[in-house]
Each structure stands twice: as structure tokens, then as C-alpha cells.
């Protein structure tokens, strides 16, 4: 069979029953649009979840008797642990300044102070994947054994909130996207299948007239690809329109929208996803052709 003919045949079919095909295209577009749409909050939650551990830091209080050299040694011992991402030295003067600025409204407390009562300290940021209640406890026990460290401080409750929030958001997001995608893949498949169901008799006639399997399949695959591809493209246009309206227009009024990230490059694959869905739908819909 010449490919131009299958192409013409599928176009004829597409436009010969334009309404019903348009309906399928729109159904698939709606389906893909919905998955993409729900991908936006999940993606953003994931971005937020990934950044959550950055909010966490440990404070290590140093012995007052340590000199510059001793402190460097402590820093080096700490840095040997692979969990450590960065260490910042905070002198007792800096610490007091920071405290004063956070207690801005209650600076009268410090009026009675004659000497700085704060110790020198180190702020340790851990690597993102090391921020997990057990790992942090182990690390802090190890660190406490280093000479010159008097006390280690970190919000245990804050840590476990951060950790479970991260795990929770990521798990939920994954489950949500998997179910959504499965649902929509099914909707697309079923749309194509129902569409081809009407063609049973046509396929039968094709067979009786001596058509090979390839001859019968090709136009259906092209048709499926076209329906899926159009659906995907429409959903892409929909997503862009939606992001434009919501994130550029609405962002003027509600500034929080400005910080919403849109995984645009991912969405660019929507037409391709549509084509794959359409072809797969057509292949399954046709089933194993038997003579």
C-alpha cells in the first residue's frame, strides 16, 4: 500500500466524520489538560518539599577558651562528615547583634547587660538528603564527642516536621500523579477504542476484499496519532493560556502566584504524549487482526 493513500484515507475518515472525531480530540485534550494542570501544584509542592531541608540548621556552641586555631580544627573535624554541607562561624559579638535584631521590639532587655554572655558558635547546614531525624541524631552524637564543643542545639520537633512534611508531600504527589495519569491514559484509550468500535464492519469488509493487515492498520494508526496529537497540542495550548491568565494576569493582584513555577519544558512533550496515546489506543483497539 502506498503511504499517501493511507494518509488520504485517514484524513478522509477524520473529516468525513468531523464531529465525532472532534469530540474525541477534545476529550483527549481535556484529559491531558487536567493531568498537566494537576501536575503544576504537585511540581510546585515537590520544589517546596525539596527546599524544606534548607530551612534546617544546627548550632554548635564552642568552649570560651578556644583560640582561632582550635576553632579551625573543630571545623575541620566536622567537615570530615559527609552529612555536612556548609559551616558558618558566628562570633559571640555577631551572635549578640543577631539576637538584638530578632528581638528588635524588646531591646530594653539588653539595657542592663555589661558584658556579652553569649559563646562563640558554628552554624551547620546539612546536605538535603541527610536531613532526617535518625541521621541527624547520630550526627549530633558524633559531633558532641569532638573536643571544644560544649553543646549542640537543633529543634527536634522542627526537624521531624520538616522531614515528614517533605516525605508526605512527595509521596502524596507521586501517588496523585500516578493515579491521574493512569486515569487519563485509560480515558484516552477508551475514547479511541469506542471510536474504532464503530468500524468493525468496515474492517471486516477490508479483510474480505483481500487487504493485508498492514493496509488495514496503517490508516487507523495515522488516525489515532492525529486524534491523539491534536488532543495533546490543544491541551498544550490550553495549559499555556491557563498559565498566562493565572500566573501573569492574576499575579498582579495576588503576588503569591509569582512564585509558582511552571514546568514548561515538560509540557512541550504533550503533543508527543498525545500521539503515543492515540497510536497505542488504536493498536489496542484494533487488537489482533484475525482472518
Amino acid at each position: 500500500m502506498t503511504v499517501p493513500y493511507s494518509l488520504r484515507l485517514s484524513l478522509q475518515r477524520l473529516f468525513g466524520e468531523i464531529w465525532i472525531n472532534l469530540l474525541s480530540i477534545l476529550t483527549i485534550a481535556a484529559g491531558l489538560f487536567i493531568v498537566s494542570l494537576s501536575f503544576i501544584p504537585v511540581y510546585n509542592l515537590d520544589v517546596v518539599a525539596k527546599k524544606l531541608p534548607d530551612k534546617f540548621s544546627m548550632i554548635v556552641y564552642l568552649d570560651n577558651s578556644l583560640n582561632r586555631n582550635d576553632i579551625n580544627q573543630v571545623v575541620n573535624s566536622l567537615k570530615k562528615n559527609k552529612e555536612v554541607n556548609s559551616i558558618r562561624y558566628i562570633s559571640k559579638d555577631e551572635a549578640l547583634k543577631e539576637l538584638k535584631s530578632t528581638l528588635r521590639d524588646s531591646t530594653f532587655i539588653f539595657e542592663g547587660l555589661d558584658e556579652n554572655p553569649l559563646p562563640d558558635s558554628l552554624e551547620i547546614k546539612l546536605r538535603r538528603d541527610a536531613v532526617d531525624p535518625n541521621a541527624v541524631r547520630e550526627f549530633s552524637e558524633k559531633a558532641a564527642r569532638i573536643d571544644g564543643i560544649t553543646e549542640i542545639n537543633y529543634g527536634e520537633k522542627f526537624l521531624s516536621t520538616i522531614y515528614y512534611l517533605k516525605v508526605g508531600l512527595q509521596t502524596l504527589g507521586t501517588i496523585f500523579i500516578i493515579i491521574m495519569s493512569a486515569g487519563i491514559i485509560f480515558v484516552c484509550y477508551s475514547t479511541v477504542k469506542i471510536l474504532f468500535y464503530r468500524r468493525k464492519e468496515e474492517i471486516e469488509t477490508f479483510k474480505l476484499l483481500g487487504a493485508s493487515k498492514g493496509f488495514i492498520r496503517t490508516p487507523f494508526l495515522i488516525e489515532g496519532a492525529f486524534i491523539g496529537g491534536s488532543g495533546g497540542t490543544l491541551s498544550l495550548i490550553g495549559i499555556y493560556l491557563f498559565s498566562y491568565i493565572v500566573f501573569f494576569r492574576l499575579a498582579d493582584k495576588v503576588p503569591i502566584f509569582k512564585s509558582v513555577a511552571i514546568p514548561e519544558n515538560l509540557f512541550l512533550s504533550l503533543p508527543l504524549v498525545g500521539i503515543l496515546l492515540g497510536i497505542t489506543g488504536a493498536v489496542i483497539a484494533l487488537g489482533r487482526l484475525k482472518y
Binding site: M1, T2, G16, E202, T205, L208, L209, G210, S212, Y291
Partner: protein
């Protein structure tokens, strides 16, 4: 061209054909007749492999159908032109495309397709209806489109199932003339019909079916 040996065909335990044995030589024109439900269509279906026999052996154009690979079935069918009793026209394409389909399946180029389809439609007097869809044709016109489709690819075997059921006497006579011409050019022709007028006094062999039994093979 066609050989049946002791063929039996049952549908849900109801026998449609029983122990049928006959053979048709290349170039012959043979009729199949019998009352309604006697098994004529079933016999044709066994030849073009729309049904499989429950017993016995069938060979068509040298192929033993039982041993035929699935992928060879289309090849066999491309040698056969079929006038289906229930027409099997595709309602979503016009008359031209319905007839042309047979040639497209055979991978013919567009120019030859046009020539052949128009010639075939002229043969059955429907050149002027080539742009109509089947639904906009009269019953007899539809039947003639089916005949045009069956002969357009110049098959080596022509199977016609009740080809004149919707045609008046004169048009039917015209169709029989066409079949005779095709047969004269070497095509084997097998016509299932209840219309005795088609074979009376032609000297052609007539297979007579009665409730699935082959009860006679003589010319009338």
C-alpha cells in the same frame, strides 16, 4: 480451480452443508441453486475463507485452504472477485472509492485506478453515480456497484451471490452478458442464485442444494 471433498459445515450444531464433493475447472461458469437457507452462501463463504469447514478438504486456485498460512489469506482473496449477497458497501465513501478500494489494496497507481474504476462503473451503467454515496442509490444501483467492485480487478475467480436479486429482467440480462464476457476471457465464474431464468437453457452446470445436501449437478 475449486475442489470440495466431503465437506461438512455446521453452525451451532445445525448442519448447513453435508458431505459436499464437487470440483470446478478453470474457466468454467457454474451455478449454485437451491431454496432459501439451503446453503448457497455458506458454500461461497467456504471458498473465500470467511468460514472454515468442520470436515473435509477444500482447495481453491491450487491452495489447500486448510494448510494456508494466515498471511496468505489476503493473497488468495486478491484472486477472487465477490458479489456479496448483503452488498458490504462502505457508507462513508462514495461509489468511486468503494470500487477503487479493491485496487488500492492491490497497490495500483492512481492513474490506472481511475481508468479501471470508471471503465468498470460504465460496464454496469453507473458512471454518472460515481460521486454518490451508497445510501443515495436505489437497491438495484447498489447491487450493480457491488458487481463493478467484484470485476474491477479482473479476478481469476468470480463468486456472485444472488447478483440479480434487486435487478429487473433487462438489467439482469445485461449483467449476465458481462459475466459471460468475463468468463470468455478465462475467469472462472460461480453464481449462487434462485433465479432459474439466469441458467435456463444456457447449458451451464448447475449445483443443486437441498437443506445442505448436494442433490444434482446437471445443466438445465
Amino acid at each position: 480451480m475449486i475442489e470440495f471433498f466431503d465437506v461438512t459445515k455446521e453452525y451451532n450444531n445445525q448442519t448447513a452443508l453435508r458431505n459436499i464433493t464437487f470440483s470446478i475447472e478453470k474457466g468454467e461458469m457454474v451455478f449454485v441453486t437451491g431454496t432459501s437457507g439451503s446453503g448457497k452462501t455458506t458454500l461461497l463463504k467456504l471458498i473465500y475463507l470467511a468460514e472454515k469447514p468442520d470436515k473435509g478438504e477444500i482447495s481453491v486456485a491450487g491452495w489447500e485452504t486448510e494448510k494456508l498460512k494466515e498471511s496468505s489469506i489476503p493473497l488468495l482473496r486478491r484472486n477472487v472477485g465477490i458479489v456479496f449477497q448483503d452488498f458490504r458497501l462502505l457508507n462513508n465513501r462514495n461509489v468511486f472509492e468503494n470500487v477503487a478500494l479493491v485496487l488500492r489494496i492491490r497497490n495500483m497507481n492512481e492513474k490506472d485506478i481511475r481508468t479501471k474504476v470508471y471503465h468498470s462503473l460504465k460496464t454496469v451503467n453507473l458512471r454518472h453515480k460515481s460521486d454518490s454515496v451508497p445510501e443515495a442509490l436505489s437497491g438495484g444501483e447498489q447491487q450493480r456497484v457491488v458487481i463493478a467492485r467484484a470485476i474491477v480487478a479482473e479476478p481469476t475467480l468470480l463468486l456472485a451471490d444472488e447478483p440479480t436479486g434487486n435487478l429487473d429482467v433487462d438489467t439482469a440480462a445485461g449483467i449476465m452478458r458481462i459475466f459471460n464476457e468475463i468468463n470468455a476471457k478465462g475467469t472462472t465464474v460461480l453464481i449462487a442464485t434462485h433465479n432459474r431464468e439466469l441458467f435456463k437453457n444456457t447449458g451451464r452446470r448447475v449445483l443443486r442444494l437441498d437443506s445442505g445436501n448436494l442433490v444434482g449437478e446437471e445443466a438445465e
